[in-house]
């Protein structure tokens, strides 16, 4: 899959983001912690309202009022992102950690040529480059995303959806960040183009030796693309672990239901939906947020919030990347 090694590229601890509305605080992200290893691909999956996009935006410190990052730590190499000044964060953004936002292909400036939009980003962070140097960088970036250099003279409307998405990718990685967050990079694209765009993203990742966080709701895509997957529900991380393990032996009841509800060419006429509706983030249920819908709820689920504990230690006890963790009272945790 990817050349992940043991170094930690990003460490998130106890991240909390609340939106302060007239009716009270909406707890969009409630105590999310995870590690991203250098060179790996981590998926973050969940339904709308699970907090995955808010988490991605929080890592970039792009949360705007009435949202606020209440607490937490985000360690990116030697920088603690949440304690940087606005100016320092501005410099770190796109240069050290970058976001390919949802629907980036729709946010390209329709009256500017593609090449100019890329140079804009570069110049906003690096002054003093000559025209030739900028041109070279643009061609290099377009090459990263497997577009012909002639694309730089084109306008967005002359490109197909997949090509525009890749231009968006090129802009987001123009400054060669170490961590790339991709938020639903293929949601509006057809399935054939989808594969192409994902292949490109991973080529970029290889070329930059970066780590990728892939945010989305398509488990099929995750299965094909990521090394580890985190499952979010109602603002919390309820399970995280190596993708194959997670799909074959999910430890959290929500993950189990999610996996069994996936459409499959093996099950004709059988649909296993998840009963109930997503909880309100304004007034979440007490204890475990999933307990009202959980078929395996026990005493205590309604009163105590379960912690994320290691359930399966993995082959090499020291390598955290093989650990599978779940936040569920059914598991008591394993010592590592």
């Amino acid at each position: 899959m990817s050349r992940a090694d043991g170094r930690i590229a990003l460490r998130v601890e106890d991240l909390r983001v609340h939106y302060h509305t007239e009716r009270g605080p909406v707890r969009a992200v409630e105590g999310v912690s995870f590690e991203l290893y250098a060179g790996e691909r981590l998926g973050l999956v969940g339904e709308s309202g699970s907090g995955k996009t808010t988490t991605a935006m929080a890592l970039m410190r792009l949360i705007r009022a009435p949202g606020r990052i209440e607490s937490g730590q985000v360690q990116l190499g030697d920088l603690e992102l949440l304690s940087l000044s606005d100016e320092q964060m501005r410099q770190a953004r796109f240069a050290r950690i970058s976001l390919i936002p949802q629907g980036v292909m729709n946010s390209l400036n329709p009256v500017m040529r593609v090449g100019a939009q890329i140079t804009d980003t570069i110049q906003a962070h690096q002054e003093g480059l000559t025209r030739e140097q900028l041109q070279e960088r643009v061609h290099e970036l377009l090459g990263f995303v497997e577009l012909d250099p002639s694309t730089s003279r084109m306008y967005p409307h002359e490109l197909s959806g997949g090509m525009k998405q890749r231009v968006g990718m090129a802009i987001s990685v123009a400054l060669k960040p170490q961590v790339i967050i991709a938020d639903e990079p293929t949601s509006a694209l057809d399935v054939v183009v989808q594969k192409r765009v994902m292949d490109t993203l991973f080529r970029v990742q290889r070329d930059l030796d970066a780590a990728v966080i892939l945010v989305g709701h398509d488990m099929g895509l995750m299965a094909q693309c990521v090394d580890r997957l985190g499952v979010m529900y109602a603002g919390r991380l309820v399970e995280i672990g190596p993708i194959q393990q997670l799909l074959e032996q999910p430890q959290h009841p929500y993950t189990r239901l999610l996996v069994s509800s996936l459409p499959s060419l093996e099950r004709k006429g059988v649909f296993r939906g998840i009963p109930g509706i997503t909880p309100s983030l304004l007034d979440p249920p007490p204890g475990c947020p999933f307990h009202p819908r959980c078929p395996e709820a026990i005493d205590g689920c309604a009163t105590r919030v379960p912690e994320l504990l290691t359930v399966v230690a993995g082959l090499d006890g020291n390598d955290a990347r093989h650990r599978q963790q779940a936040a569920c009272h059914l598991h008591t945790g394993v010592d590592v």
Partner: protein, 365 residues
């Protein structure tokens, strides 16, 4: 044999092409499809954006007239239905649309979407009877009236809204429900519930479904037969097991290969009939995969064709004659047809046979 319930006969729909417009966009080019009277079926129409599937749905619903060819309801062309017959058609053929938000008038509570059709088509019912009917419909899709009625659309989730739309469709006791991408704008975790309710009402109430989608996996789960569309043309049609598990048209093969399976042992880009037993594919194979798909994807598609097969430019097996004329549908297997010159020796089909193939009735004839 009685006339089919709903039929599309070589329908074609063009847009533009007036005096001042340079080119016409052919949204649907010569499609045929049938739904039988005697039994409920589920037919899928699958394709990517620009394939014409939504236009075909609108043609079947009578929302847009065909440029040529005809749509027939119980044997009568839609144009020739009188007011009374038209009203019957309107009731019997219902729809569920893609966008769970745009279908609700934001000015009204969701009750409005449900009470309106009942009032229109069952004016003889009392208010209490109408409410009873609505509540029963909500129960059929797994919703509780007390949690849904009286709310505004923005107060409900996408999944709930879409289920209300399914309720609306079945309130009128239709014979056909055309579902145009009913779950593509709904979260992946909620899709199974909605598809399940559609499938159940098909089985329990004998309602035929036309399921329009770009997702081949759910099409496989839900339907008996499938039509694969590409740029307005039906390129493959027939029994869903054959079309998806052993596709014959190169475009269908490309589509099936591109499905991301939630199974790490089945690699993206592989032929699904050869499932790899290894956990991962070698990097050399992966690079080759990228190289091959590179040639077929970067073309910005336009809606016009130059008279040849619409897929010719992207087809890895393109031959010279593919650019010269558009291949017709030929019967490659007892219950499946593909429109490709690779199967030149297969028997051609009449429009009637194509229609029967589309619902799995060819062998009956």
């Amino acid at each position: 044999m009685t006339a089919p319930l709903l039929e599309a006969r070589q329908v074609r729909r063009e847009f533009g092409g007036g005096l001042f417009e340079r080119q016409r966009l052919v949204a649907v080019s010569g499609a045929s499809l049938r739904l039988p009277q005697d039994r409920p079926v589920v037919v899928a129409i699958a394709g990517e954006s620009g394939s014409g599937k939504t236009t075909l749905a609108r043609l079947l619903l009578g929302m847009v007239p065909p440029t040529s060819g005809s749509i027939l309801y119980e044997g009568t062309d839609l144009n020739e239905l009188d007011r009374r017959q038209r009203k019957v058609f309107r009731r019997q053929v219902q729809a569920v649309f893609q966008d769970p938000f745009g279908v609700f008038n934001p000015f009204y509570r969701v009750d409005h979407t449900l009470t309106m059709p009942v009032a229109k088509f069952f004016p003889e019912l009392s208010r209490a009877q109408r409410l009873e009917r609505i509540e029963e419909g909500l129960r059929a899709v797994g919703l509780r009236a007390e949690e849904t009625l009286g709310r505004y659309p923005h107060e409900l989730s996408g999944g709930q809204r879409q289920r209300i739309m399914v309720t609306r469709a079945l309130l009128l006791d239709p014979k056909v429900i055309v579902a145009d991408e009913p779950v593509s704008m709904v979260d992946a975790s909620l899709r199974a519930t909605i598809l399940e309710s559609l499938f159940r009402i098909h089985q329990e109430r004998n309602i035929s479904l036309v399921y329009i989608t770009h997702d081949l996996t759910t099409a496989y789960q839900l339907s008996h037969t499938i039509l694969i569309m590409y740029q307005g043309n039906v390129v493959e049609v027939g029994d869903v097991d054959q079309v998806i598990k052993a596709p014959k048209h190169p475009y269908t093969q490309l589509l099936v290969r591109s499905i991301p399976f939630a199974d790490t042992k089945r690699r993206w880009g592989e032929d699904p009939s050869e499932v790899s037993t290894e956990a991962s594919v070698t990097s050399a194979q992966a690079t080759a995969e990228i190289a091959e798909s590179a040639q077929t994807v970067d073309v910005k598609e336009s809606g016009t064709s130059d008279g040849g097969c619409p897929f010719a430019d992207r087809c890895p097996q393109m031959m010279a004659r593919c650019h010269q004329s558009n291949p017709p549908l030929v019967l490659t297997d007892p219950d499946r047809a593909a429109a490709c010159y690779l199967y030149d020796d297969a028997p051609p089909l009449t429009e009637q046979q194509i229609g029967e193939l589309s619902y799995g009735g060819l062998q009956d004839a």
